[in-house]
Subunit: 97 residues, 2 copies
DNA sequence: ATCATATACTTTGAATTTCAAAGTACTTTA
DNA sequence: TAAAGTACTTTGAAATTCAAAGTATATGAT
């Protein structure tokens, strides 16, 4: 018998990480503050989820200074975009079976 | 600024529970064995997730005997169907923003 | 000038969740 | 009647989630 959830990617299987990726596939970059506001999450929580996506090489992190303030920019990697697309397709398939 | 993940339901935000609900909204009933095979999960894991959905009153559990064997049937409740639909709409909205 | 508050994160670890191994209670097959 | 299978439940270790507190610097008020 076939496994209907096998193509769902565990890394993306959380609302916050799904939200982060949704933002990063349509925007070239997003910084910490923007993600935090769009998602409505606490600092520590956002940091954990971006770290998980970074560990999976699905997002890239660039740190710089804007004026004298630190700024962290996140962007989706090539493989991040590919695997996210597959994940979205798996969810859509599951939901309309 | 608007929170783009606020309408995602935490109870459904896991691939196994999403899978269980997907099955139960299109089938009037599914038993433990069927869910286990369709989802490819271990017994204990499935029991935890059905329990979480039951606690949220999103599924109903009916225990009986088929012949002399125990059988557990799961079905989606009215509120389960309503909230699942909302959840699916929230995901779809998030993904195509 | 200095004190308080704000910005932009990071670190930490408690709380919760996930998961599978082992257990229970039969039934079926040899 | 012994061994293996079915249908779950219980248990608790492991992993994950989350927010409080910490670090470092900037900005605004007195």
């Amino acid at each position: 018998m076939k496994n209907i959830i096998i193509n769902i990617n565990k890394v993306f299987d959380h609302r916050i990480r799904l939200g982060i990726m949704s933002i990063l596939v349509v925007n070239e970059y997003a910084d910490f503050k923007t993600l935090k506001e769009l998602l409505g999450v606490t600092d520590g929580n956002l940091a954990s989820h971006t770290k998980a996506l970074e560990k999976a090489t699905y997002i890239k992190v660039e740190k710089s200074f804007i004026g004298r303030k630190p700024n962290t920019k996140y962007s989706a990697t090539k493989i991040g975009r590919i695997d996210f697309k597959k994940h979205v397709e798996a969810i859509e398939k599951l939901l309309k079976q």
